[in-house]
Symmetry: C2
Subunit: 281 residues, 2 copies
Amino acid sequence: VRSYLDCYPCFLRQALDAARRARLDEGGQARVLDSVLAALRTFDPSRPPPEMAARFHAVVREAAGSEDPYREEKARATREALDLYPDLAARVAAAADPLETALRLAVAGNVIDLGAQADYDLPAAVARVLVQDFAVCELAALREALAAAPWLLFLGDNAGETVFDRLLIETLGLPCTYAVRGGAVLNDATREDARAAGLDGAATLVDNGARVPGTVLELCSDAFRDLFARAPLILSKGMGNYESLDGRPEPVFHLLQAKCPVIARDLGVPVGAIVLASGGR
Amino acid sequence: VRSYLDCYPCFLRQALDAARRARLDEGGQARVLDSVLAALRTFDPSRPPPEMAARFHAVVREAAGSEDPYREEKARATREALDLYPDLAARVAAAADPLETALRLAVAGNVIDLGAQADYDLPAAVARVLVQDFAVCELAALREALAAAPWLLFLGDNAGETVFDRLLIETLGLPCTYAVRGGAVLNDATREDARAAGLDGAATLVDNGARVPGTVLELCSDAFRDLFARAPLILSKGMGNYESLDGRPEPVFHLLQAKCPVIARDLGVPVGAIVLASGGR
């Protein structure tokens, strides 16, 4: 997905929010904004939004002198999700269709996002998504693909959401490689965050080599690109991955909440919709 | 009110909205955005938001080759309000407290704003504001000031809202001078718009000499500044006027809906609140 003109105000808003979460004072926030204004003037709008987000998060980290301003919030989100885990696992075990329930919970976990939205309510998201209709639901195609695939590449998104991903992976019963970001950016999951969620017991952890809140293949490591090219099936979580991978020829299924009007329009769904869509639509 | 950092994303959003309303194509919209990005880098944030808005609306008008891209929407808003006028006038005439009812209707009319919000529902706003509590209500002080003042300077805001202002002025029964913008900008009322609302029969019309969606005195004509300084009482409508006049020593009462988080916080009220506040608080 290219960066739309509507993304520009949102980039500024997100950069300001990131600067505040990193506890920059108002002068520091203003310098971050000015730097983003300058960057936007030279940004190539044919590039996906996560590429711009990577830039302004780097500016914030440098201004704040912090390699991971979201560390505490990520740890808190992971703890909150782990507290829910036993109950959620019991729900999946008791479900008539464990796969569908685990997919729903995994899309509920996608509400843990400090980019598109400033705040979230995890238990409320779980309750809502368990009964919400999917606006796009290619579940039958995913079942077929899962039955045929010897293993799965899972593209993670946010810390905390990782716990829900773990439950889904445990439900699938298929060998899984779980990819995280190559470095701390926004509240996206790193290796450390994935381990804190217990994912190292459920999947092989890899990082994609890029410090980008999405999967911009051009910026990923050779090793990750090779893995991506070889994967028989890819399950991608969240808007950032969708924005950077939509339209690719590889066998990707996107599982996400459409949190912003631009992506909702792109997907042809209302804002707030939950989506399970194959990339090759 | 200074321009807060939160105003910057909003400036971009408003400029983009204005470019689209002016029917610029995507290339034109992108050029407008780029021009606003450049202007924001040199903008003095101690200046009020309407001063920045004046700049980007000028950019949009030039790009669109139109002196008044909001002409049709303003005419439609005025017609819609005129259609409601007989019923609203009857409500005021039948009210236990005609002044309070006319003030409430005038603040309901303030919903007609294509800057802070992209859309509005006028009949719904009337129904809501007739029963909504004022978050700040200096009605007693206003009554006193009205009883003592030989005449009133009324600072208009948006076209269509003018019809509600006319009803308030007719209810006050005090000689009134009604000030409009010095030129078409956003959907703010000009002389032409005020006449279309029938205000020329209820007040003396003047324009403030500035093409700004607010009342930035430094940019107004000498004649208007002189009038402003001499006015025994000033009733100011809307956020744009509030943003540019708050803190002034003149006897101003502000009547508005707090439509954005920045102004709501500045006023100490929730977003959506209705406010009647003296400027000298």
